[in-house]
């Protein structure tokens, strides 16, 4: 809350600095009449002052907020009597610290309040108050200092525009590096946690084991406490659901793309194409709801009618609905490549007496094939990474089965289930989710790279 007020105050200081900078620049050359003597337009001197007032102060504020809690907590911990902490696990200490913080902010506490805890809470509250006030002072001091610096530097000789522009350019470079930082963040965070996981469970067991039951031990001597982390059932489950989805999406998507681009009258195309593409804009949680509450019961009833045993959370239901979701991906990507096939190829085929469908099958589809395959690969990577439909409509039990009527689980379902409980962050169970995430990331990444390179190569052929 205070942070927002401080940011608003800083913005106000920057606005003042802007005005002062302009005034200072104009007065430094002796008024508006002499303005030609300035190196840059007056507003650049204003911006220069505003940036000097704002950027260092904002950076300081960010650092302060990042480290304040850590420092205050360590100060409070250092002040706790040693017998309170001695022989306690790190979890207990965290709990005590949590209690202290809750007490200080007036929340509910888990244990009875001892005088020591009360004293620590008072100290915590006092330190927090001091820290917040000193942050205000420090940040505002830096802002005013930056303003004063800009004030002193401002003069007719100062190349304000060049300086401001180089600052802007630097900001833009930082912004575009965020993409790299994100990838780096994903790879490093997921990789480190996975490496810790592979310290506990061997990669051979993970990638080749067929038993997945990551129970977590409540006590060390509990039966089955170690859990089993063989991910093969998850991989087969993921593949089965994706396969069903592709069996739905590829024929429907491809055929409708062909029909809409080759046969349909223009007004049909103008209506049907956007309507089908609505399917791509619907949130996946809606598909999950549809799969779990409409499609799955319908399939179960149908199965019962035919005398088949269908699990209430069958792979078929999840796969079917996922297929519906993917139709627009396949159809719009295929549509693009089919339209990219030059008209001369069609004309050539018609001139030889081929019917329209023969032209499509013998000429257009082969010519567009690399692009279509690339599009399908992109759709597969989408199906593998899809989460909400399978979380809501596929099961939790890791069955190693080839029967689509049984319940299977997928990589994404397990990531969600492993990470949504309140677990210790360094148990094998939570770390397993990161190992699964790494696998998922690498598989989808390589699929995308292959698909994009196929599509790009093909596109160059006709351009």
């Amino acid at each position: 809350m205070y942070a927002w007020i401080l940011i608003l105050t800083l913005l106000a200081v920057m606005a003042v600095a802007y005005q002062l900078g302009i005034k200072r620049a104009i007065s430094s050359v002796g008024g508006l009449t002499q303005i030609n003597a300035l190196h840059s337009l007056p507003s650049y001197y204003g911006l220069y002052a505003a940036l000097w007032a704002g950027i260092p102060a904002l950076l300081l504020m960010g650092l302060w907020i990042g480290f304040q809690d850590q420092i205050v907590t360590s100060l409070v911990t250092a002040n706790l009597s040693p017998d309170m902490l001695e022989g306690q696990s790190s979890g207990r200490i965290d709990l005590i610290l949590n209690d202290i913080k809750n007490l200080a902010t007036g929340n509910i506490v888990s244990a009875t309040v001892t005088p020591e805890v009360q004293a620590a809470a008072d100290q915590y509250a006092r330190l927090e108050r001091i820290a917040t006030w000193s942050m205000w002072l420090a940040v505002l001091a830096v802002a005013l200092g930056g303003m004063a610096y800009a004030w002193r530097r401002t003069g007719p000789q100062m190349r304000a525009r060049n300086r401001v522009e180089s600052i802007f350019l630097a900001i833009m470079i930082v912004f575009s590096s965020i993409a790299i930082l994100t990838t780096l963040g994903i790879v490093l965070s997921v990789l480190f946690e996975s490496l810790r996981f592979f310290d506990m469970v061997s990669p051979v067991e993970f990638f080749l084991g067929t038993n997945w039951s990551p129970q977590i031990a409540l006590r060390a001597d509990q039966v089955g406490a170690t859990g089993a982390f063989g991910a093969i059932p998850l991989f087969t489950g993921t593949l089965m659901v994706s396969l069903i989805a592709m069996l739905v999406a590829v024929p429907i998507g491809l055929m409708s793309a062909i029909y809409l681009s080759e046969y349909a009258p223009r007004n049909v195309r103008a209506v049907a194409k956007p309507v089908i593409e609505i399917l791509a804009g619907i949130p996946t949680v809606v598909y999950g709801f549809f799969a779990a509450l409409t499609v799955a019961p319908a399939i179960r009833d149908l199965g019962a009618l035919l005398g088949l045993e269908v699990a209430s959370e069958s792979a078929l239901a999840a796969g079917l609905v996922m297929g519906i979701m993917i139709i627009p991906f396949v159809s719009s990507l295929s549509d693009d490549v089919i339209n990219a096939v030059p008209q001369s190829m069609r004309d050539g085929s018609y001139a030889l007496g081929a019917t329209q469908s023969e032209t499509i099958r013998r000429v257009i589809v082969p010519a567009a094939l690399p692009g279509i395959v690339g599009g399908i690969l992109l759709a597969v990577s989408r199906a593998i990474g899809e989460t909400m439909i399978v979380v809501m409509a596929a099961g939790m039990a890791a069955n190693l089965t080839a029967n689509p009527l049984e319940s299977v689980t997928t990589v994404t379902v397990q990531i969600v289930t492993l990470l949504t409980g309140d677990q210790e962050f360094d148990s094998a169970k939570t770390l397993a989710a990161f190992a699964l995430g790494l696998t998922l990331f690498l598989v989808t990444l390589s699929l995308n790279i292959v698909a994009l390179s196929i599509v790009r190569k093909y596109r160059e052929q006709y351009e």
């Binding site: 809350m1 990042g66 525009r161 522009e165 350019l169 833009m172 912004f175 575009s176 965020i178 993409a179 994100t182 990838t183 963040g185 994903i186 965070s189 997921v190 429907i252 998507g253 055929m255 409708s256 062909i258 029909y259 046969y263 349909a264 049907a272 309507v275 089908i276 399917l279 804009g281 949130p283 996946t284 949680v285 809606v286 709801f289 549809f290 779990a292 509450l293 519906i324 139709i327 019917t355 329209q356 023969e358 990577s381 989408r382 593998i384 990474g385 899809e386 989460t387 909400m388 979380v391 809501m392 994404t412 990531i415 969600v416 990470l419 949504t420 998922l440 990331f441 989808t444 790279i449």
Partner: protein
């Protein structure tokens, strides 16, 4: 002509046109089949759209109405305001539950059995006393009078009145007993049961009771998350696109950035959740389940979309604009900020709105950063615990009560309405500002 010689000896030699004519019928049939298959595929695609919407609307439209029971509630002064001071404290502590129950029992004087009495009072929502309290606290002149008050009914009664519970089914198969059905029938005949517009759905946070559950908390959470996401991702996305498109030298570093942006756009969203958990929560200590951490994850996720759309928008501005600006002495940055950016802005905004629409519907990464906590209060800031609309839908879809099914569908309808609105705005922007150079 060699292949034509292979006909039976003695017969006149066959000409190419004969072969073609023979096969024509088959080929035309194939043509028709192929065409039909295409039409069926398009039809299926359209049918899925219709089916999906019909399913959700038919399940959910009833949630916009809620069953109320009209009861003459006597707001006895000695119960409502025991201290007699009309103080907020005195009024808020009163036993409103008793007042409502008594009012209902008055309607059925013949019910005396304790078990039946309990069943009778369970027809009313457990939240009804709270609603009455709020009403009395707003208007203390009600105290001491008898008011005809519309009291919120329990979700089972609501389902019964809406016809979602089969009155003909065997008693063991439904959630309400025969007596309750009788009582409801009696009340219906007296005109004491009415379905009224469900304001609770739009003004309350979530609840364990379907009749008290609303989407206000989730909507505010989504609003905070999206606002912050936009404030972060739009400037960053536009800045990055400007640099990559207009300033960046062609070298390995910018190539690397470019490949990265394209690949990030196709990374499964759940991986961003892992990133958020490990980096933002684990490393930087951003508080869990807050719009702040959700917005950070969403920013990372939507950035590629915005960067790609912004670059397309920048590309569509003709080079003559840049050359003219540079020609009259503008600096490179002035050219961009004063001339190119304003022209590219509608396209960039369109891309940003589409990215925001995607962020609004995104669920999976948010599950991982604690947005699935059960939070009743409507959040009032970026660092309050909150949930967002799609996650609320996910949570309600998991609830077993029949009443939550229609509420889930209704929440989906609200979500879809927002998505349509955003896409509509994006299309309008594009139409209005699209220019052919």
């Amino acid at each position: 002509m060699n292949n034509l010689a292979a006909t039976a000896p003695g017969a006149p030699p066959r000409r190419t046109i004969d072969i073609v004519n023979e096969s024509l019928k088959r080929r035309y049939a194939r043509e028709r089949r192929f065409r039909l298959m295409g039409a069926i595929a398009v039809g299926l695609g359209l049918a899925f759209v219709v089916l999906l919407f019909a399913d959700i609307v038919s399940k959910g439209y009833t949630a916009f109405q809620q069953t109320y029971i009209r009861l003459p509630v006597t707001l006895t002064a000695s119960i409502v305001d025991p201290a007699g001071t009309r103080d907020i404290e005195s009024i808020s502590g009163a036993n409103y539950n008793q007042l409502i129950k008594d009012a209902l029992r008055q309607q059925f004087p013949e019910v005396t059995d304790r078990r039946e009495l309990r069943r009778l009072s369970s027809m009313l929502s457990v939240g009804a006393p709270q609603l009455l309290r709020e009403r009395v606290m707003e208007d203390s002149s009600l105290i001491g009078t008898t008011q005809e008050i519309w009291v919120l009914a329990d979700d089972d009664i609501d389902m019964l009145v809406k016809g979602n519970i089969d009155r003909e089914a065997a008693q063991g198969d439904r959630r309400v007993t025969d007596e309750v059905i009788g009582w409801v029938g009696q009340l219906e005949q007296q005109g004491r049961i009415e379905k009224r517009f469900n304001t609770i759905f739009f003004t309350h946070g979530t609840s364990r009771e379907p009749e008290l559950a609303g989407i206000a908390g989730a909507l505010m959470g989504s609003l905070y998350t999206l606002t912050l996401t936009f404030l972060l991702s739009f400037p960053i996305g536009v800045g990055a696109a400007l640099y990559l498109e207009e300033f960046a030298p062609k070298n390995r570093w910018t190539d690397l950035i470019e490949v990265n942006v394209n690949n990030l756009a196709a990374v499964p969203s759940i991986v961003f959740g892992l990133l958020g958990l490990a980096v933002f929560i684990g490393f930087f200590g951003v508080p869990r389940s807050t719009p702040l951490v959700a917005a950070l994850v969403m920013t990372i996720m939507t950035l590629p979309t915005i960067i790609i759309a912004s670059r397309v928008a920048l590309k569509s501005v003709p080079p003559s604009i840049r050359e003219a600006a540079l020609g009259v002495g503008a600096s490179a940055l002035q050219t961009q900020f004063h001339h190119v950016l304003p022209l590219a802005l509608p396209g960039m905004l369109t891309g940003a709105i589409i990215g925001m629409a995607r962020a609004l519907g995104e669920t999976a990464p948010l599950l991982m950063i604690g947005m699935i906590a059960f939070i009743v209060d409507v959040p009032s800031g970026f660092t309050d615990s909150a949930t967002v609309l799609p996650v609320q839908i996910f949570l309600w879809a998991d609830s077993p009560e029949r009443g939550f099914v229609e509420r889930t569908s209704a929440a989906i309808m609200v979500l879809l309405a927002f998505l349509f609105l955003m896409n509509f705005v994006a299309v309008m922007l594009r139409r209005k500002f699209e220019r052919r150079w």
